[in-house]
Symmetry: C2
Subunit: 454 residues, 2 copies
Amino acid sequence: MSNIPYKTYLEESEMPKQWYNVRADMKNKPAPLLNPGTHKPMTAEELSVVFCDELVQQELNDTDAYIDIPEEIREFYKMYRPSPLVRAYCLEKALGTPAKIYYKFEGNNTSGSHKLNSAIAQAYYAKKQGLKGVTTETGAGQWGTALSMACAYFGLDCKVFMVKVSYEQKPFRREVMRTYGASVTPSPSETTNVGRKILAEHPGTTGSLGCAISEAVEVAVGSEGYRYVLGSVLNQVLLHQSVIGLECKAAFEKIGVKPDMIIGCAGGGSNLGGLIAPFMGEKLRGEADYRIIAVEPASCPSLTRGKYAYDFCDTGMVCPLAKMYTLGSGFIPSPNHAGGLRYHGMSSTLSQLYDDGLMEARSVEQTSVFEAAQFFARTEGILPAPESSHAIRAAMDEAIKCKETGEEKTILFGLTGTGYFDMVAYQKYNDGEMTDYIPTDEDLAKGFAGLPEI
Amino acid sequence: MSNIPYKTYLEESEMPKQWYNVRADMKNKPAPLLNPGTHKPMTAEELSVVFCDELVQQELNDTDAYIDIPEEIREFYKMYRPSPLVRAYCLEKALGTPAKIYYKFEGNNTSGSHKLNSAIAQAYYAKKQGLKGVTTETGAGQWGTALSMACAYFGLDCKVFMVKVSYEQKPFRREVMRTYGASVTPSPSETTNVGRKILAEHPGTTGSLGCAISEAVEVAVGSEGYRYVLGSVLNQVLLHQSVIGLECKAAFEKIGVKPDMIIGCAGGGSNLGGLIAPFMGEKLRGEADYRIIAVEPASCPSLTRGKYAYDFCDTGMVCPLAKMYTLGSGFIPSPNHAGGLRYHGMSSTLSQLYDDGLMEARSVEQTSVFEAAQFFARTEGILPAPESSHAIRAAMDEAIKCKETGEEKTILFGLTGTGYFDMVAYQKYNDGEMTDYIPTDEDLAKGFAGLPEI
């Protein structure tokens, strides 16, 4: 066994004091958000109707490489960060691989995932602006939980629209949010115009993320002292999540290790974008090279099978248009158990980096993902979230390749969260009842048909 | 804000290499286990029918103060330990107290509690003895989960008898165990003689911990290559759990702090016994003094209202007799939501220390416990287990007293686990439907009537 510890923690004094904004080092900047009516770039003024002022500045800032993390946020980070960089000795041994596997574990907080890194930042700026509260949507529930925790900390009201099917099937996530003082409304609801309209047109619908977004935005825009916040996709969210990669890089430097490849699961892109940020910066500046691999579900393959085009971020088509790899806002992913990866598009920043050939992408099927999840749980002790397990699958596949070739590659992957609220999915897998679903070209064509002409 | 970090971690090289056996420093040793038939002290030979050989030695050893932690167990500990010693700055601020509050957090592992510290030790000795597997019972599920994880790591078969009402109401705990490869049987079951007997006498019963113990013991004794393991109460378990207190003491020494009082929840006593072990050792040797406070539910008050007497450890009366503070093995606690604290008796070691006046005890009601749990979650970010929240309640009460008196006491409490699988209880609290229950003297008299005459 080497001298490298199982877990490397930074000292609190070594924690990042600035976020890193990868856009500053990109030659080809991500395309701007467009006004869905005029198709012109959204101005700060237009965006500030929906988002907090400082977050709008962060959203539009593609020139400053470093942005100070306010002290209040750094204090909150100290409650659950630094997260450990873990050497997966037991996994390596079980696989019999010469590869050296590391993972950055973001699940050691009550929200159960990395989402808290951006939730606390967004809540802070809302508080600083003197707002009463924020609204948001949540599907699987990680983001809503993280935001509830952040709002409880700063004494902000938090209104969460939770996709109705999740609200009913995941009562425990709902109760965590309520314990933190959030109000949780099943979407579609009778409390908004858009909700009532959808309920009238589709009585008995169990809702969708797109509908919940529309309801949350409507309430934010229509309520004095409220703004809307989002947990992924946006540039500002990737900025906040850079704390993952910055900590990770500092920890590697502490133990004198440099990864060869970096693997992360990709839904909207917040975790992957945050994990790779400083490494991608080095790559963009020509200082180092890394293989960077995005892993997505075969059932929702935006990078591997999508189109790079302007599209709506929500199914209600009220949000700005974003240029991204997308399956079309009308694409309905199959009921894959990785709820956090069931989004039709991908962060504009990551889409541009992918289009520029700076990162790879692959898709994996969910039964093989749960096989990896179970293997990981039994060897490394941590029960992973289905989303994170996509990265585990790819990391294991790369480690097995190293076994075949004898190469001693150093693999880093992001373990974004724990699966404690995903046991229905594990039960299906344990009972041998999980199936795979890969959309046909015809399925995809239907989604692409809804892309706006720009 | 002081220079003390939010979280103090030991380096891996600073982690304990030996467990501390507090019995070695006790002048009045805990009373021995008695054979239920002969009322004579159980011999090693008798115990080894049920327990692994080395664990029997540990159970009977009240002279060696330090026992080496085998390297294999220390390696496993490194996967999820050291656990952090946390300074609760946010809780202090929210309470406006001059007290300094620390907690040792044992919930950052998939079992969600400290139980894994002993599970991995017991699985290791079973493996070393060449056994095929182990059997156990579980109520709320923490212990069964921990044991499943430990058995998966060492490749041992794990048969868990889960109290039927929990099996049905906590399907997610069950699925975590299954994910780690354990077989989980609802108890009472048709698979054992005692289970069939109970089902015949009480058709439709939802089971009890006592019945599940009896089934697990029957299967262990009747199967080639199996032994029975238990997650609390026993001396061996307190020995393994001393890793909590040893880490805690080392972390305090690192930051130059000495606690004035140490608070822990107490069900069977494994967490409290482990947390206080090295501090109690100093107290026993006259090297230091600490206030030590056990907190139990008002609905199951073994220390505060029980009798110090020999009693059965299980309702089936097949296990050895233990001298302990007990409510009687026939006492049926109300359906309190802290399943881990619903045990009629208390560890013999802790019972003796309490009887000798070396520690205090108090009981708290569950609505005030959940009030503290919610307050803690909102200020410190971690959603605590109902069991752990008993300690939070008492620590908050002590901190509030300090506010009144102006004393700057240093308070340490054990945060044994997280409440992610206890959301039914939180839901009841959130909905205002939680009630308290305090047994009457008549209720207790019924339990005492069943005490054996010895």
